[in-house]
């Protein structure tokens, strides 16, 4: 497959780009240039890899979920264990990369937006690790849903700013982080947590997260003597999915499936399934699929998982959808919860609610496929942060 995206101006076909106010253009140009230089610098790459090995604990293992696969009675499910990374999710891969870049650019202050809190925790972690000041923007609604992560960020020395504008979730936190950046651009580096936003973020975050898929490319042959038939990952902004999809793009026999949040059901309108039910537009600095009303206003989204509760999606996913190289589906809150409980009970692994969406689709798919078929699911994070949400949902006081 002949695939060279983004182009020099940050476009993934018709998507991506730099749709920001002029005040941010110079900062993004400087960032793009610094990233180009860093990426070609062998010492930068070596330090990134060294940090991933000794600080994050990479490579993360791939685990054959035998008991769960047996129970489902079909294809074999393998899990890429990003939940075992330091801080408990894939988010740290990208944060290490961007923090190293911030240091290289001489910026002593980092900011971030966060939904579930995983990216905020990862940013606070690297800020502590490299001695940087750190401010995390988080929607008020998410602060409530993810109290444990808020405390974790504070323990790590970060300031957490609750955002009360708009729908008080991830999209509003992103707006607020951009506003901070535009105001403090002289000393501040914005560590964006997903493959969305203006160029060079979608490319840069993809590159840092690609370590996930690159490891799978040598791990799967070691385990089963070949590549998997399917690679499945959840998609909110889409960073864990791009991280595992991207190295597989040229392996055309491997089917790539992104799983979005159908919330209470696509037909209810209360969901966050951007690629399944949205249409293209411009938000947060890039052109991509969006959940919007007929007047172009961004819709409030719903998902049981704060990390998927986002009305946009990375522009590269928009392109992969149009090209047909990846397929995008959606599973409901209830389906994700059922998969969450199954993995707890059959494998002794508590998955993040985000990752539970990918698991839920694998559970749907597996019974219809022969036993020789192999599904590789990106288990992007662990579920400790979701105890409160799951308990509340099950009517358990906790």
């Amino acid at each position: 497959m002949d695939y060279h995206y983004p182009d020099a101006r940050g476009h993934f076909g018709p998507y991506g780009g730099v749709y920001v106010a002029e005040t941010l253009v110079p900062a993004l140009e400087a960032l793009a240039q610094a990233y180009e230089e860093a990426k070609r610098d062998a010492s930068f790459r070596a330090e990134f890899e060294d940090e991933l090995k000794h600080y994050v604990g990479r490579p993360s293992p791939i685990y054959h979920a035998k008991r769960w696969s047996e129970t489902l009675g079909g294809a074999q499910i393998y899990l890429k264990r990003e939940d075992l990374n330091h801080t408990g999710a894939h988010k740290i891969n990208n944060c290490i990369g961007q923090a190293l870049l911030a240091r290289r650019m001489g910026k002593p202050r980092v900011i971030a937006e966060t939904g579930a809190g995983q990216h905020g925790v990862a940013t606070a972690t690297v800020a502590a690790r490299y001695g940087m000041r750190c401010v995390v923007y988080m929607g008020e609604e998410d602060v409530r849903r993810q109290a444990a992560n808020v405390y974790r960020m504070k323990l790590l020395g970060a300031e957490v700013v609750p955002v009360s504008s708009g729908s008080r979730t991830l999209k509003d936190a992103l707006n607020e982080a951009m506003r901070d950046w535009v105001t403090n651009v002289h000393d501040t580096f914005y560590i964006l947590g997903t493959v969305a936003g203006p160029h060079p973020y979608p490319e840069m975050v993809r590159d840092f997260q690609s370590v996930i898929g690159k490891e799978c490319l040598w791990q799967m042959p070691e385990l089963i003597g070949r590549q998997p038939d399917y690679v499945i990952a959840c998609v909110g902004g889409g960073s864990n999915a791009i991280g595992i999809f991207y190295p597989y793009l040229e392996h055309e026999s491997v089917r790539l499936i992104g799983v979005e949040a159908a919330g209470e059901g696509i037909e209810t309108g209360r969901h966050a399934a951007t690629l399944v039910a949205g249409r293209p537009g411009v938000l947060h600095g890039n052109r991509t699929y969006l959940l919007q009303d007929e007047h172009g206003q961004i819709r409030e989204t719903h998902s049981i998982s704060a990390g998927l509760d986002y009305p946009g999606v990375g522009p590269e996913h928009a392109l992969l959808k149009d090209l047909g190289r990846a397929e995008y589906v959606a599973v409901t809150d209830d389906e994700a919860l059922a998969a969450f409980h199954s993995l707890c009970r059959y494998e002794g692994i508590i998955p993040a609610l985000e990752s539970s969406h990918a698991l839920a689709y694998a559970a749907k798919l597996a019974p219809s496929l022969p036993r020789e078929t192999v599904l590789l699911v990106n288990l992007s994070g662990r579920g400790d942060k979701d105890m409160h949400t799951v308990a509340e949902r099950s009517g358990i006081r906790w």
């Binding site: 730099v18 749709y19 106010a21 002029e22 504008s165 537009g281 969006l290 961004i298």
Partner: protein, 270 residues
């Protein structure tokens, strides 16, 4: 000739500077905006920037965010913004109106449909905050073909070559963002703003309007001594926030703008 060009030509002849108020359409209510547009002209506005509310105004501070949220809650849409302009044109054929907003509502309507509707409604220019020149080429061409000016922002951090891009694609005037921050922020360094203006004017060949953070008559006059126009937005919306009805809103706004108009005319001499 576009009304914006005509207005700046007349002011240049008179040795005066343009006062440009910004109001969010539909804030605090549709009726208020309707009454407000002529009131702004009575108070001395030379050109009106009318904000198209958007759910995610990334470049705006809390005041314009709140105004946008409230306007949207009242059911404001881009189509209704255009109706407001059409109404205004029934009684005012001369004062230029520039729509200012974000790309997505325009794209949702369809660029071609929007440009035609804007022209028919009597719009003179469009400033799309999140279309910097490198992403705006087709849209800017469409606007120019319809006789409307694509208006662009330049910032203190912009490289000099950015002004050439604006000169190539834009028209009407350049909106110079007076500080590195969001709309309505506090700290405006007048001296550094003034230092940039002559160079920008020469490089773009366009009048320079300065906005973001101008809150009173004195600052307006200082900026107006060098710039061709001053834009006042967030402070104006703050004044509107507490108004109980359209009449009071108009009275408040006129009382706020008149001294600014005077200061601008007194300090500035031919």
């Amino acid at each position: 000739m576009n009304r914006i060009d005509r207005t700046f030509a007349r002011l240049r002849e008179q040795g005066r500077k343009a006062l440009i108020p910004f109001v969010t359409a539909g804030f605090p209510s549709v009726e208020t905006t309707q009454a407000l547009l002529p009131a702004l002209v009575r108070a001395g506005a030379d050109l009106i920037e009318l904000g198209i509310p958007f759910s995610d105004p990334m470049a705006d501070g809390p005041t314009i965010q709140r105004a946008s949220e409230r306007a949207l809650a009242q059911g404001m849409t881009l189509a209704r913004v255009l109706e407001l302009v059409r109404d205004f044109r029934r009684t005012d054929a001369d004062t230029p109106v520039v729509l200012m907003g974000y790309a997505n509502p325009i794209e949702a309507m369809g660029e071609a449909r929007f440009v035609q509707a804007a022209r028919e409604a009597g719009v003179d220019g469009v400033l799309t905050v999140d279309y910097p020149p490198q992403e705006a080429e087709p849209f800017a061409a469409r606007l120019r073909e319809a006789g409307l000016h694509p208006i662009f922002l330049l910032a203190p951090t912009s490289r000099p070559e950015r002004a050439d891009e604006v000169a190539r694609l834009g028209g009407g005037y350049v909106y110079y963002v007076s500080l590195t921050g969001v709309t309505g922020a506090g700290s405006l360094d007048v001296a550094s703003v003034l230092a940039r203006i002559p160079g920008l004017r020469e490089r773009t060949g366009l009048p320079i309007a300065v906005g973001f953070g101008i809150r009173d008559a004195q600052t307006a006059a200082e900026i107006g001594a060098v710039a061709d126009a001053v834009v006042i937005g967030s402070r104006l919306l703050e004044i509107l926030e507490g108004a109980s009805d359209a009449d009071e809103a108009c009275r408040r706004v006129e009382a706020f703008l008149r001294p600014i108009r005077r200061a601008l005319d007194e300090k500035v001499t031919r």
